[in-house]
């Protein structure tokens, strides 16, 4: 069911040690394929934000490398845009919604002013804020502010969006709205998404693939495929037996060292096999 698409982002043996000597990321290797929605889910303090910032070259890795289309990246590439958790700090309060969205496009000389404006209008419409273009961010609710941050990223037309717990600071209903909006944006604009979150349900709901992190120093303890049908729908998807099984499985892995997860997974596989065997023999 899952078609193997070309790998566009490759993280190889990435290690990150903070300046104070703490090892945040032990070794992480992941591949992101074109058009997929991938999540990295891990406990609090697992260095998720650090990982994302290192992937987009805001931080330099201690060792290992990140390649985009086969080229190692050393400064934030325009094809990859990070959306921060704290919209109140990442939006510019002296600019209106349209001012914020057009901000990154201003410096580009390859497209005309009219084109820039139409890119912005399209992005603002896509997040449903077309009636609020002249509002300042602080005049909007938290969920709306995060929509502005998403619109700003979309208008820039990146290939990949990196989402750093973008829905963590909003209420549950807004969160569900934003999750569905993100899925919509992904299909409308054909963007590859990489989300980090501590919310297992969210990662399963949104993703095609989930990478589970160990506690720090982080390693990927498991890569879980999410074969849930598309499009996802809040109530239907979340009550699907497969969804519940996946979330429980990830729940069992999270916060555990890699050896234990591997051992348990093997036991689980053996158990399933034994069950299958019993079924066939009886």
């Amino acid at each position: 069911m899952i078609v193997e698409r070309e790998v566009i982002l490759e993280v190889e043996a990435l290690q990150k040690r903070y300046a104070n000597g703490t090892l945040a990321i032990q070794e992480i290797s992941i591949d992101i394929r074109k058009g997929e929605f991938a999540s990295i889910v891990g406990p609090s303090g697992a260095g998720k934000t650090t990982l994302l910032k290192t992937i987009c070259a805001l931080l330099a890795p201690t060792s290992g490398k990140v390649s985009l289309h086969g080229t190692v990246i050393e400064s934030p590439p325009p094809e990859m845009i990070l959306v921060f958790q704290d919209y109140a700090r990442s939006l510019f309060p002296w600019l209106t919604v349209i001012g914020n969205v057009i901000f990154p496009l201003k410096k580009r000389s390859d497209i005309s002013k009219t084109e820039k404006e139409s890119l912005c209008r399209e992005a603002i419409k896509a997040v449903g804020l077309e009636r609020f273009t002249n509002y300042y961010p602080w005049q909007l609710s938290g969920g709306m502010q995060q929509r502005v941050a998403l619109a700003r990223a979309i208008a820039f037309r990146p290939e990949i969006l990196l989402l750093d717990e973008p829905f963590a600071s909003v209420d549950a209903l807004t969160r569900a709205d934003l999750e569905d909006l993100t899925l919509q944006l992904r299909s409308d604009f054909n963007i590859t998404m990489l989300l980090v979150t501590h919310d297992i349900d969210e990662s399963v709901y949104l993703s095609d693939r989930v990478f589970v992190l160990s506690p720090p120093p982080s390693v990927v303890v498991a890569e879980v495929q999410v074969p849930l049908s598309q499009p996802r729908e809040q109530v239907r998807t979340r009550s699907d037996a497969k969804f519940i099984e996946l979330r429980n499985r990830i729940h069992g892995m999270i916060g555990k060292p890699k050896e234990q997860v591997l051992a348990e997974d093997e036991a689980h596989a053996l158990g399933t096999a034994a069950l299958e065997f019993n079924k066939t023999t009886s």
Partner: protein, 279 residues
């Protein structure tokens, strides 16, 4: 649907104070009270002055008449205009240097570490203390006053600009980097606007210091200017003239501050809107 209703509610809330009637009534009442206080104070002065018959305390009417004759004449050109242009040039120099250097110092960490001891030293020095130094080095001409004003007013502007530039939220700077802004573009398009509230606070303090310095520097070493005029009037027993000069200074100070606040509210409307919302 939920988005539009929420924002409309937010907007209604924002409009509320201005639109509601009790608020405007309160403002009218406040204005009446303020005027009453001034009138009562002036009347009290007038009564005391007339009862005491002291040369040192002329009556309000006498001061007002002198004020009219002195300041609505060539005296304004000869005494007030020099003060104003010295202050203007000194303040402009302070503002340009203070904001430029301050923002750069705040933005580049190593510059901040390098210059912080100097900044702390000047922050602690009373601005008036440099006037004798100024007279010693460059005499009592306009240059001395302009430089003394520039030198005195530059520190609060510089220190506040540096603080503003240093305390830009990290996410804002990282956002700029993610979108590929160069270091200079980030400085101009992110750091300076972010630091504007602190820059304005520094410029307001700088304006007050510039105003003090013009008066004191003219009192200590000058042949004209309002400060010179006030001190001369006192020394020659031109008492109503002395009071008139003090009143002119008060009026000028008030006007400068009002203009500053007005411009600030235009430039920093976003900041006040935001703080009002989060309070």
């Amino acid at each position: 649907m939920s988005i539009s209703t929420r924002a409309m509610a937010a907007q209604r809330q924002a409009d509320l104070p201005a639109a509601s009637i009790p608020q405007s009534q309160r403002t009218v009442k406040g204005t009446v009270l303020s005027i009453a206080t001034v009138v009562i104070a002036l009347l009290a002065w007038e009564v005391i002055a007339r009862l005491k018959h002291s040369v040192y305390v002329p009556s309000v009417t006498q001061i007002a008449i002198t004020f009219w004759h002195e300041w609505f004449s060539a005296t304004f050109r000869d005494q007030a205009v020099p003060s104003l242009y010295r202050m203007f040039f000194g303040y402009i120099i302070a503002a340009v240097c203070g904001v430029t250097v301050g923002v750069i110092v705040g933005y580049y960490r190593f510059m901040f570490r390098l210059l912080d001891p100097v900044l702390q030293y000047w922050r602690a020095t009373p601005a008036t203390a440099i006037i004798p130094v100024g007279i010693l080095l460059i005499g009592i001409g306009d240059e001395m006053k302009i430089l003394v004003i520039a030198f005195g007013a530059v520190w609060p502007i510089l220190i506040n600009s540096a603080d503003g530039a240093r305390l830009v939220p990290r996410e804002r700077l990282e956002t700029a980097r993610v979108f590929g802004l160069t270091s200079f573009e980030t400085l101009r398009r992110v750091v300076v606007p972010s630091a504007m509230p602190q820059i304005a606070a520094g410029m307001r303090t700088g304006l007050a210091i510039a105003f003090i310095l013009i008066v004191v520097s003219e009192m200590i070493g000058s042949t004209n200017g309002i400060g010179y005029y006030v001190l001369q009037a006192q020394r020659t027993f031109a008492i109503p003239e002395m009071y008139g000069g003090v009143i002119l200074l008060a009026i000028l100070g008030f006007t400068l501050n009002t203009v500053f606040v007005f411009v600030e509210s235009k430039v920093l409307g976003w900041h006040y809107g935001q703080s009002a919302r989060t309070r």
